[in-house]
Symmetry: D3
Subunit: 338 residues, 6 copies
């Protein structure tokens, strides 16, 4: 039987220019609704869990469309507020080869989620009903209230015996000048509450201000992650290293740090149809492995494969089942499946 | 030779659900860029004038797309600021029959145009370069700065000998509670500066607080418009009455009040492909007639026909030429044109 | 607070040629999933009730797509079996004017729903969890097992104190030769169990073999429906008369028979975007009115308006809210809603 | 058993802007291949005849696409030359209401058909293999060689005992100044050879220079057509009168003149999805009626209904079967056909 | 001059999700009609032969659409029955990279072709009119009647002096448990009748139960194919080995066994737009080479190149001409062709 | 501040089959307007210059659409004639892998530009208003008048002190038999007038008849280009060598010859979305570098990068800004840009 997993985060409308035209060339947009929490929780429902989103959406046709889209993604909407006026949205122009993809945001600070008043969410009651809650560094970057909501909710989860998952997901553009300094106390608070943390060596160095003399990414990782685990008492830490090759293919290598030990996935090489949301697919794999008590090597392989397969599907949100991922882990991709 | 005509107003991105699906059913959107000023000025370029827009757009891919779209509409972008962060946008779901179309706005108050600082536009210099400027009541509704910009620009135009066109275009939702009371002084100021005003009896009664014992729309119009013309010294006032029939066809009857006399168009009956922007097409017809010194009956017929034909084309912005409109005025529509 | 309403019926995949091309001209199809029960229950969720479907879908990508689509329609999938091999599907070519729409079915007799084994559904347990269940004559036409399932489920509902809704929905093509004769005993059984029946005079005359000397539809209706109500002890009977005018607009007049009295709606005239599913929208209005204890005239007006508005939206399944329908009942359609 | 029917005429590529945008607004085009002869012959294959086209297309990808499209339309390509360099093409912008549709031609004078050399077609051999050949006034308008080809082919058909159908189809833009005068001798020649002629009173007055004092279309028709029949010995003459109503619906009334008698169809009223090709659908109905020896009233009703139904389908070319037309003649349109 | 070639096989409707979405994400489908026989015969018409299909389609709009599509593919429909109720159909979701394509079938066992009664086809008469007939192992898998039809038709072809082509095309899913055992006698019968057989070492080992101690595919092939040729007296056997590389490109190496000798093509490497139908394109190349008396090396190169090029075009069915293939054999692909 | 740059050349309508279908498979086309001059000048406006086109377009809906498209591309239309009857157009079928793209032209010789009469353009007045003018060898190939126009305009530019850019762009198909011989005097004339020439060793050998014993492309280039520079006194010559790899990726190496010295770019490897227009993007980079007085290595790197990036965008015409190109030169492509 699956667990009850919730995420706390914003739902955004994604408006994507089809193919490789720019916004200034095209005249239509494909739209969907996503967000880090949405992606992780929807993926978990594909693996047999029950997923919830704790968020807010306006009581207008855009909020209706988002709510219906979340249902389509398998997410139960019982913890979703319908208040406020706006939904954050972003425009995506697909890059290729030497031209990178471009994301242009509308004013997300005014969104229903980011303007929800203190007390708007009944965190205590929600915490009683779920087993795991996913939080994300993007929510910390928004404003004082979202930071308070995050802390308050995470504490409630712990009090009720649930697990806290925290994805560092630091976005420099959202924190502004001296961002690392501003962010540090909020990140530390979440690390102390967290059971599972998604991060890599850059987060340790930049946000937490840790130091190492290593200059290679891998060496920095092995030097710093155990320190994070020990300083903030984090049972499970996981993350990936991505390499973009000159032929536009990507590679991912995942690590899992648990019980003072590192476990690594194979390095997976693959071509890319859509890159957005791959981190969230990876996160979902780690959480699922932990909830199912997979051995470490299976968890990290499952998560890395979930991340790789996300690059083969359309949209931010993972759509493949546990079985699809297990098959691909065994290398059973290949020719047509009839 | 055409005249130089500018408009002062916001550019909005319009995102329309194709066909008759709701936002919650569809997955793609057709987009374009428009606005009352955009529509009027673009129409004027179709009649042979040179059109300009005085506005602001962000220096990002959305602003680029809007600017390029304005060029496509024939509008010269030399008075366009590229600053601020956002562009206002709205979503359109097409109604039909007993189901009305729905418009959902994003947060336009944060748009580049509505957050342009005092002094951002060099109104004096612009006023020297143009013959006519179009203003709209929607801009008055935004905030104190847009109201000041409007007043300042209109005064500059008058000082430089240009003509001021003012479209009352009162939107209740934008002014909030006690809106008419709040709006009145700003409207009165613009009426005193204006050479051509677009309005009807409702504006006189509700915004200006004028009274009449007449109960029929036509009687109210003939009672009140001459009072407006005389109280605020408005040389030309024009507007339309629209009727929506039970078979979903519409009728328009236009009036023009000039030299203390009313001139009326025929009542035009027609089916509707797209209704948005019809008022702006009408406005462009009135301005064109006045700039070309058409006789009153030709001006009002041209404007009403321009309004009617707008209902047969796609998008907010009129796309037909002066010749197309003159042909339809003569009833030369009919069968295929090879 | 809404009620729990379930429907028992098949989910079909609908594959529609866009616009007015024939299948032999086009090369793409728009698809969705629907069915009489799907439509009625989804509409009820739009009015604030909790909706369930008791049905079966194959455990393959088509079944996945259907299940996800039902969730999007607001339907809880907890009573949905995932077994069998196929989903029924039909192709729709849109007619217009003098050319009628054409529906071509694939082999629905092999569908998961129609091949579900006796005992596949736990009707007793489901009946305990719902307040109302909707049944449809189409399911009676399929085979002996679906007829048994229908009877068994309806009896369970009555035993548990729930309400039975039965839509006669007789499809001559499905019953074959001597269809009325074959169908009669099954229909009579359902009428005796039903609290709300959807039907009109044709069903009384053809299926039930009732006779009247009246020759006008309205007179036949008033003669026969009270006999049905009394012979089978049906508390509420409702239905519509549709007229198709030569200008391709349609009219609907609805009736409601309750407490030995007829209540009629106004005759509604309207143009048509999509006709399929209008009967189900009407049904949903009748059920909602009964569940909310609306007075008879409000129930029949609400249902007729729901039926009319269905013709303005895309897809078999109603998508408008209770508020949308109430507004249209008041004639507040008209121009753009901003 | 069907007959063998050929047409002599140009194949054109039609490039249509979807919906109601102008060429200057849109960015994609729907394309197909048609022509008066193509349309008539393809319709005949829908009625059970064997259809051929005598024409020329370039041996390049456009010619390949056209050839394959003709096969799709049921036309046997054994009399189709593959030579020359170009295919004529035209762009279509759909009008609606008071805005008429616009057709813009590319340079069709350079097309393979219009530049085919004298002797390119083996008319004698073709004439032996077919029962009926359709010719059109548009081909006469092209150049001296197409006129010679037409005459030569028509004479060969008569020599071999086949029937000649001639559709006057006078296009003023193609003949230039003094067009009627230039055209007259060529038209007279064809009238003398023809067994079935499609025309109306305008052709008699303008091309043939006949005179009448009647001022109403119907009176002119009844005065002049018998003169045409007798002067040029034409056994069968047929045509339609079209009225475009202010609500954009159209009416058609057809006549058939045979054995010195007029037979008229009912006046059919209908709304219009696509108007192009309706004349060719009518023509096909007349030819079919004559080949099947329908009584006059059935022939003219069948042809008028075929013409009406063409307005409900997409593309220049009729796509409905004989049975579809017979059903609609009986008024069996109405609701959905399952 | 081309030969007359027929195929005996089912026509299926293919419904493909565009791009890389799943059925549960998308809302429209691209459709076409294909089948192994359709593909081979249509390819042959591209090389200048006359192509026929011996099959059955329902007399409904789906059957009409399929028939018209076959004509578009250049196939003469004179041996096509129009009877029965259904057409088999399958849904295709495109994979990419590590995610494989998925095919979901509807119930093809009920199709017109698979339910055609014994005696439905006049095989004797058809055999007199054609030079070659293509058969396929898929048809053997369907039911006892299709197996009898196959045998009967193949024998008639031999009696009339025609050539029999047999593509082994064993599909495990269709034969069920103990499939190889069940299939063997039917396959042996066809091998004995066949002039050209498409197969490789797997068919020899699994279906025919042949044994070899070789463990490499190539060695197995060289060991077993000569045995097949000799045991069943097959003049020509051909097939391919496909390798899927980790960068998602594919390689093909083709062999031809004739006169006790193997001839191999170069190993062709290429990227893939669409993989389905590549085997049929290869088959068409072998048949064409044999009918044209190409030398062995040209035949196998032509067939391999036809197979490779199929991966660059859309749809199951090959669309390139003999000349296109000959050019690519010479490596004349490269830059733009103007 | 930018310069004023004009181009003299034809505007063509491009009609592209979407995806990888052939014209004979698809039914819609994506269209745009381009041409060598259009592409170069539009690119220059992306770098901050003012762009003009000296050309002719018909005064019909196709000419309107082209004019509006040019405005969208940032091109000022004040030197555009609206006369003549036709616009040249071409159809594009995208190749991939071993299948090359195909371009099919309509009859461009009849276009407004190619039929413009002597004296139609006021070259003297235009030359006074611009700093640079771009000419192209394609225009020389059309007819005697376009050659005279080219010479006359180039001379006027020199007289007024402007710069002449000449792109050799020799198209064998347009010059016919003995094309090099015919073309040579016209090319020599332009080389003598030109300040910047785009060419490579093939042009020197084939058109100018120069000889070298070198057999490698690079050696031929270094042997011949200095001779061209010296014989015709050309200050700047530039060009590229393209390699198409077996994995379908391309490489470009660019050279710049100036002050008797060669400067080379790095060899750039990249995958290809759209290849057409890459040469024009390169040209625009060379002109921009020269107008901005970039050092030689920056100019050639900028131009090569502009050429490479063109392969990542849709349409013939470059759409990226100077900043986009500078970023890619620094290798700052990589992951998503938020």
């Amino acid at each position: 039987m699956g667990k009850n997993i919730a995420a706390f985060g914003e739902v955004m409308m994604r408006l994507q220019v089809p193919g490789y035209e720019l916004l200034s060339q095209a005249n239509n947009l494909h739209y969907s609704f996503s967000g880090t929490g949405v992606n992780v929780v929807s993926a978990m429902t594909n693996y047999g869990h029950q997923g919830y989103l704790v968020s807010a959406l306006p009581a207008n046709p855009l909020g209706d469309a988002a709510t219906i889209y979340l249902r389509k993604l398998g997410i139960v909407d019982s913890f979703l507020l319908r208040e406020g006026s706006y939904i954050g949205l972003y425009f995506l122009e697909n890059g290729n080869g030497a031209r990178q993809s471009r994301v242009t945001y509308s004013n997300r600070l005014e969104s229903s989620f980011n303007t929800a008043k203190p007390g708007a969410f009944d965190f205590k009651s929600i915490a009683k009903q779920v087993d795991v809650v996913h939080f994300c560094g993007i929510t910390l970057a928004m404003n004082e209230t979202t930071r308070k909501h995050t802390r308050e909710f995470a504490r409630a989860v712990k009090r009720e015996g649930g697990k806290v998952v925290f994805d560092c997901n630091y976005r420099p553009g959202l924190w502004g000048d001296d961002g690392y300094e501003k962010a540090k106390p909020y990140y530390e608070e979440m690390l102390e509450l967290a059971d599972i943390v998604l991060m890599n060596e850059n987060d340790a160095m930049h946000i937490l201000g840790m130091k190492t003399q290593a200059t290679e990414r891998h060496d920095q990782l092995t030097a710093l992650i155990p320190q994070v685990a020990s300083r903030y008492s984090v049972p499970v830490i996981a993350g990936t290293h991505r390499t973009i090759h000159s032929d536009q293919s990507h590679s991912l290598t995942a690590y899992l740090h648990k019980n003072e030990q590192f476990t690594y996935s194979k390095t997976l090489n693959f071509s890319v149809v859509e890159r957005i949301g791959a981190g969230d697919a990876f996160t979902s794999g780690i959480i699922h492995g932990e909830l199912q008590d997979f051995p470490e090597d299976k968890t990290v392989a499952f998560a890395a494969t979930a991340g790789m397969l996300k690059h083969t599907t359309i949209g931010d949100t993972p759509v493949l089942s546990e079985q699809d991922i297990l098959l691909a882990m065994d290398g059973k991709g290949g020719d047509i499946k009839r």
